[in-house]
Structures are given as C-alpha cells and as structure tokens.
Amino acid sequence: MKSIKTWILVGFASLLLVACGQGGGGAGSKKSKTLENTKKAGFVKCGVSQGLPGFSNADASGNWTGIDVDVCRAVAAAVLGDADKVKYTPLSAKERFTALTSGEIDVLARNTTWTLSRDADIGLTFVGVNFYDGQGFMVRKNSGINSVNDFKNGISACTNTGTTTELNMRDFFNSKNISYEPIAFEKADEVVQAYDAGRCDTYTTDKSGLAAQRTKLSAPDDHIVLPETISKEPLGPVVRQGDSVWEDIVRWSLNTMIEAEEYGVDSSNASSLKDSDNPAIKRLVGSEGELGAAFGLDNEWSLRIIEQVGNYGESYEKHIASTGILPDRGPNELWTKGGILYVPPAR
C-alpha cells in the first residue's frame, strides 16, 4: 500500500516539475533540463563502447580511458568541476541510440559515425567530430592482395553488424561490380576469431578498429591493412535533440580541447597562461570575457577542461599514439599542421 502512495506522490511531483519546466522557459532565459539534472545527480551520464582500445576501454579495476572517454570527462570538468564525476554505461552498437533517446545517458561518446539519417531522423544531434576515421580492409600478407583493386568475385568479408560498415561494404563492392559474401557478427571478438580461422578472406571495419583488433590476432604480423580508405567515418559525440544548451556545452567542451592544442595550451601550462598576451589564450583559460555565462557555467569551465583532461593532442598521444594503435595522426592533425581538425573560434 505504501509503495502505491509513493508512486502517486512521485507522479504528482514529476507532473509539477514538468509544469515548472515549461513555465520557466521564457525568452532569453538559459535553462537546460539536462544540465539541471546533471548538477543535481552530481555526475555526467555517459554512454561508451563495450571496449575499444584507444576510444573507450576499461582496465581491470574498471577505470575508463580513451579519447571518447575524455569527451565525457571534459563535460564533467566543465559542468561539475571534476573530470572524474562521470557514470559510464557500456553500450552495444545496437543499444546506443535508444539509450540516449530514452534518457538513460546524456552524452553518447562511442565512436559513432555522423550521418545525415542518424542526425536528422532518430531524435539525435551530433555535436562535432573527435576522430576522423575511414573504413579499410585487412588481409593476410601472403594472399597476394596489395590493394582493393585485387579483389575478385566471390571474396568473403567479415564485419560487425549494426554499424555503417555493412552499408559502405555494399557500396564499395557494388561500385567495383564485385560479388561478395558478407559475414556479419554481432560482436567484434567473434569477427576476429572467424577471420583468424580463415572463414573470410578480408576483415573490414574502420581503420582505427582494424589497427586495434589486429593486435588480438594469433599472428598480427601476418596481416596488413590495405592502403585504400573506402568511406568517410567522422566519429563524434552525440546528444539528444531538443536541449540546445546541453548540446552547446558538449560541443564546446570538445572544441575547447582542440582549440587549446591549437594555441599551445596544455594541462601543465594552462593556469600560468592567465596573463598571456594573446586574447584567444586568455579567453581559453577564463581570464578574459564571460563565455561560460552563455551556457549558465562559470568562467573557468574551459580552464578546468584543459587542466583536468588536457588538450586534444595530449589525449590523442596518451590513448591512440603511445598505445601503438595509430601513431600517425593523419587527418586528425590540426589544420595548421596539415590535418583537418578545425574548430570555430571560442569568442
């Protein structure tokens, strides 16, 4: 009986909350339900992968690391003042969008490709790109295949389901007029095992994924990743549609990390740059302007991101380069150094 009463109370309370939320949404006021809830809960609810080295991977004691994880940490540092205040939810490719739209998580940082249909159709908004990837192929070194042009009719290709790789694979083989056998597994570990056993001639997924999974093969040196990239895979964090303030917070948390690298601000020198001569740097470390107020945050939000999480270059070096996954930054280099990382100015 008691529980029913509680439920009714909770029901009324939430109705009131909804009414208040709608009433307060006047012009000019910056209210974000997600931000309020996050502050109340004391942690950022973040969806990550079930284990992809370099992007989001948990160690034996359950500590998550990776460049996707760093996006969540940056948001936590900006909003809550502590980068460690993140609750991670590991999600499969299939579960990820439902978890986000249903409110189980508030940020999805799970090597997710930004596409039109995902952005426009299913209640999601992509806020930026934290890794430019592309789909490639891995084959056995002794196969005599040195380029995707060596593929012939009847080739069998292993991959994961629930990702854009299945679509890219079809587009690619169709454009070359090659018939192929697609073998799609639910989890990456089974793909690796099946490919290793010789079930398929090639393994196709994002190149960063190939590099990471290759280390799991019985003889990694017997396999090569072909030079061609058959698709654009801009991977980035995603939020729910309809809360533009929260969307801006996540977008600019990521942008801050990239901009910090561009201006040479990193976790070790950030606080000492408060009196820098460059106004752009001063804005980044919060000693000039009132940028945080636009999101309802204080002025040191970006300083905390840089101090606690580091800039994009530090994050890349720590998780992707030094672990040997992709030492060469390729397109993920700053635009000033020949890459395509270019973010709008924080001003």
Binding site: K94, S117, S156, G162, M169, G198, R199, G242
Partner: protein, 392 residues
C-alpha cells in the same frame, strides 16, 4: 418475475463473468496507457513512429538467403529473408533433434550396458552446458578443424567441405513443376492406399504390405515424369576458382554456410537430450502389464513396440516435446552470435540499427516469434489430439 430471473442469472451464470470482464478491461487500459505513454515520450524527443520504413531500400547484403535478395530490395524483404532463415534452421534442428532424441531415449533403456551408458553420458553432458557455449564450441571448433579451400575434403569430386562452407552441386531442372506435381500426386495416392489397406485389415483381416507399395509409388511416379514427361535434371558441380595468390573459392554450386551447419548441429544436439528424456519417460510410463499382455497373445517384439507401447507412450511424450520444439525455435535467435543471418541478426540487428526504429522492429520481431511458436503449438496440439485415447 423477470427481475427475479435476471437476478438468478446474474448470481449463477454471469457471476464468473464479472471478474473476467474486469480483467479484460484492465489489460486493455494498461495497453492503452503504455501506448499513449510511449507515443508522448517519442513525440517529446522528436522520434516519429510508423512502418513506412519497411518499403525503403535496405542497402545491406545478406550472405545466405532462400529467396532472391540483395541490398536493393526493401526492409520488408530483408525481414522475410531473416524469417525464412529462422524457419529453415528451426526445421532442420527439429528434424534432427527428434531423430537423435528418440534414438538416444530408446538407447537409454537398452539392455546393453555400453549403449545405455553412452546415451546417459550424452544426455547428462549436453543438457547441462549452456547452449550459447555449445554454439560457439561447434562453430569455432568446426572452423579450426576444417581445412582451407585449397585442401578441401573431397566427396567423389562432386561435393567439397572446407572452412568456408559445404559446397554441393546445384540441381538444374527442366519442367520442374511437372516433377513437383507428380510427387504431390504420389503422396495423395499413398494416403488412399493406406486407407484401403486399413479397411482390408479391419474388415477381412488381410495384411497388405503398405510400406513397399508406398515406396514404389513415391519413387515410381516421379520417375515416370523423367521417362515420359520430358523432365530432365543435370548437376552443376562447384568449381575451384583462384581469386589471388592464396585465396580460392568454390563457385557454381550451392553453398551451405558453416554458420548454418554449426547452429543446426548445436540446436539439435542440445534439444535432443530433452527429447530423449521425454521418450524415456513415455516408454517407462506404459504399464509393464501392457507389454506382458501383448506378449501373451503372441505379438512379436516389434509389434509390441509399434502397436501397444508406442501409441500409449506418445500420449506422454508429445506435450513436453512440443515445449522442446518451441524452445528450439526460440533458441535459434542465438544465431546472431555466430553470424547466421536469422531474423534477430538481420532485422532486429542491422535493420534496427540503420533505421533506429526500435519499438516498431522489436514489436514485429516479437510478434513473429509469437506466431511461429503458436503455429507449432497448434500443429502439435492437433497431433496430440489425434494420438489421444478415443473414447468409444
């Protein structure tokens, strides 16, 4: 007077009706509430609801399909491919699980120590290991044990087995429909022959060798279409093709993918243990006196089994075995783990991912499994009724 009658009606006949009506009302209200709730939430979050996506182009390919399919077909077609693959592996699984289960069940009752103990060990081992592990075991064990394409196991130069699958010749027919009709005609005539034979036996006590006659019709009638009807059949044997320095593939025949083989194997090995126990329970459930009585009127051992023991045992065996058939069908959804393109992998996996229509796709998939299970139940209930004691 009328009022009194009405009262009596209410208290006797319709009394039980009130709680039933209330229950139905409650269920309807609950369903309506959840539907409206889901609709509101989806509306708030900018998600549309609808089944229009089913006619859109799926743009993904499937490795194994019983009907024509590629990525240019619709999601509805992809659903059908997945459904047929689920039905295929379930049917194969049920067929072999039944044969193996009956054999093992009877073996467990064997007087031969070795046979009964082997059957017992088989049952105890295979029913106590989780099915998903058995599926992985058969799949990866098979992949590791089978040779690469160049070193295929060769069956008389017409069929080849290797890590990429089992390659068998493709049948090429002319006038296949005529052949098909002749088989249907054969089955119908066998039905009448057995009816006639039963009548002869019941009325005149004459035994007619129905089995041989049936076999003769089943082989003879379709064979005639070859001689007279212009039906021809030729085979296309799979040929080894080289794709690169070390990559070879067999082309031209029919490929049975290793995922199907290992999934069907795992499902039937696992389910057979439960069926074996049902069979054993059924046979043991027949009173010993029945067998002794049958023996005393001079029936042979096989006649006792066929005419006295089995008809009674079947009544015990069928209901729990129906459950096992349902379990097998539902368990086939584990296929996704080893890339067998069943309905869960194709439709509730890839299609769901691409369209993002979780509620629509999961409801369709659940309804599909429900209908599959109900169809099996209906068939088995009919069979059970047929086998039940007919009160005279």
């Amino acid at each position: 007077m009328n009022l009194k009658n009405f009262k009596i009606n209410l208290s006797n006949k319709n009394k039980g009706l009130i709680p039933q009506v209330l229950t139905v009302l409650f269920i309807i209200l609950a369903v309506v509430y959840f539907t409206i709730n889901a609709q509101n939430n989806m509306g708030n979050r900018g998600i549309s609801f609808g089944f229009g996506f089913l006619s859109q182009e799926s743009s993904f390919d499937i490795a194994f399909s019983l009907i024509d399919y590629d990525g240019s077909y619709s999601y509805a077609r992809a659903f059908l491919v997945g459904l047929l693959n689920t039905i295929l592996v379930s049917a194969i699984g049920i067929f072999f699980a039944t044969i193996l289960g009956v054999t093992v069940g009877i073996s467990r009752l064997s007087q031969n120590y070795l046979i009964s103990k082997t059957a017992e060990w088989y049952v105890e081992i295979f029913r106590n290991i989780p099915l998903i592990l058995q599926i992985f075991f058969w799949y990866f064990a098979a992949l590791r044990a089978l040779p690469l394409t160049v070193d295929s196991i060769n069956f008389y130069d017409i069929s080849f087995l290797n890590v990429k699958g089992w390659y068998v010749p493709r049948f090429i027919w002319t006038n296949f429909s005529l052949f098909f009709y002749s088989i249907i005609a054969a089955i119908i005539s066998i039905f009448f022959v057995s009816k006639y034979a039963k009548k002869q036996r019941d009325e005149f006590g004459k035994q007619i060798p129905t089995l041989y006659i049936s076999l003769g019709i089943l082989i003879g009638l379709p064979f005639l279409t070859f001689l007279l009807g212009g039906v021809t059949l030729s085979f296309k044997i799979p040929e080894l093709t080289q794709l690169s320095k070390t990559i070879y593939v067999y082309q031209g025949g029919v490929t049975i993918i290793p995922e199907l083989i290992s999934l069907a194997l795992a499902l039937s090995m696992y389910t057979a243990t439960f069926i074996a126990e049902n069979v054993r329970a059924g046979i043991l459930g027949v009173n010993k006196g029945q067998k002794e009585a049958a023996a005393s009127i001079g029936l042979t051992k096989s006649q006792i089994l066929k005419l006295v023991v089995m008809p009674q045992a079947l009544r015990i065996i069928i209901p729990p075995t129906t459950n096992q058939y349902l379990n097998l069908t539902k368990n086939s959804s584990l296929a996704a783990a080893i890339a067998y393109p069943d309905i869960v992998l194709v439709f509730a996996g890839t299609a769901l991912m691409q369209t993002g229509r979780a509620i629509e796709i999961i409801s369709i998939t659940m309804l599909t499994y429900l209908s599959l299970s109900l169809s099996i139940s209906i068939f088995m209930n009919w069979y059970n009724k047929k086998m039940a004691i007919k009160e005279k």
